[in-house]
Symmetry: C2
Subunit: 213 residues, 2 copies
């Protein structure tokens, strides 16, 4: 009947994710986790060294799920024979927006946590998961017939995705009305439309002509 060590860890992570989703990072308390999991405070520290480790583990799961849903969305469009770049990028962005909306509390915590990590040691599995997201976008861009070499396409993918990310996070700074959701989506539509049109007309190289020094 007693739960395995790994089962208990997952139970703790599930509880932690719920707590983060409800009240953000400051709602992730060791005593609350212990109480809801039916164990003592010390046991939590037996399973995880830090609360930071709990937080990181939750974030990993979130990033992983986000990548999976993004890939699933792309696979769906592939099955439907949709090859239009703009359609596919919009679908990818839509998956991202839905994901953020589905995790109102925990997704901001992912970003805040990421930032706190800035001074920490070396690279991480974090970056790997983010790169996976970039690669999906880069793959979509490859289907489009822009005159982009691999390096420039990767740069465009990172730029586009960071921009979508900025729109979403900026949008959710203000009070999250249903208005905000519409505003976010209109911005994304504008961005993607302009981005694709700009790439089609060689806008990626424009700065070399207009900026001298």
């Amino acid at each position: 009947m007693a739960l395995d060590k790994e089962e208990m860890s997952e139970k703790v992570l599930a509880i932690a994710e719920a707590l983060l989703n409800e009240g953000g990072a400051e709602n992730l308390k060791a005593r609350t986790i212990a109480e809801q999991a039916g164990i003592s405070v010390g046991s939590v520290y037996n399973l995880f060294t830090d609360l930071d480790e709990v937080h990181r583990a939750v974030n990993m799961r979130l990033l992983d799920r986000l990548g999976a849903t993004g890939l699933a969305a792309m696979a769906d469009l592939e099955r439907q024979g949709v090859t239009d770049v703009q359609h596919r990028i919009l679908a990818m962005a839509a998956a991202y927006v839905r994901f953020v909306e589905a995790h109102p509390g925990s997704w901001p915590a992912v970003l805040a946590f990421n930032r706190r990590r800035a001074t920490r040691p070396g690279p991480d599995a974090y970056d790997a998961l983010l790169d996976a997201l970039f690669d999906i976008v880069a793959g979509v861009l490859k289907a489009g017939d822009f005159g982009l070499d691999d390096e420039r396409r990767a740069l465009a993918a990172r730029t586009l995705w960071s921009s979508v990310h900025g729109i979403v996070t900026s949008g959710y700074v203000a009070n999250s009305n249903s208005r905000q959701a519409e505003e976010i989506w209109r911005q994304i539509e504008l961005l993607v439309g302009v981005f694709v049109k700009g790439l089609e007309h060689g806008g990626a190289f424009a700065h070399a002509e207009t900026k001298s020094e």
Copy 2:
């Protein structure tokens, strides 16, 4: 000799900004402020109701300074007779990047704080300051000869600025090497170039044609 109430408030804010800049939001401690300001903990709570209010006041000053530097950069270009939209937007983005680099610890705190405020009551002076930044960008876009009505131009300004913001924040998630600064700037150049080219070719309306439902 003794400082005025308002002078002491500003001294506290200066100390708070330094603390935020050094160690982020979790480094803003009431006792540290009191010690460095030469007053007691209770006096801090006499000047400000909350530590949140201190944090908000610091953020206000930062946003205000950011807007001022942005306006100054625009005025400089005006004086030089530079009317090219792409140049001016790049200059605006450069001002933003420099500002973030100049406040490595406190600027992330602005964003993290903004998010915590999500559940709080009504609109704020925060939004007013952010809108001021949007207005600057919108003013620059107005100089360009795109076929945009006021509403669409405002949307484009918010989209462009949120995108720049996303690029900068995403870039500073990873370890802040000098490489990152170059990557950020390349993304910004690509974004602005593609954005302007896309607007010139009516990309802002493209989504209406390709997206049916």
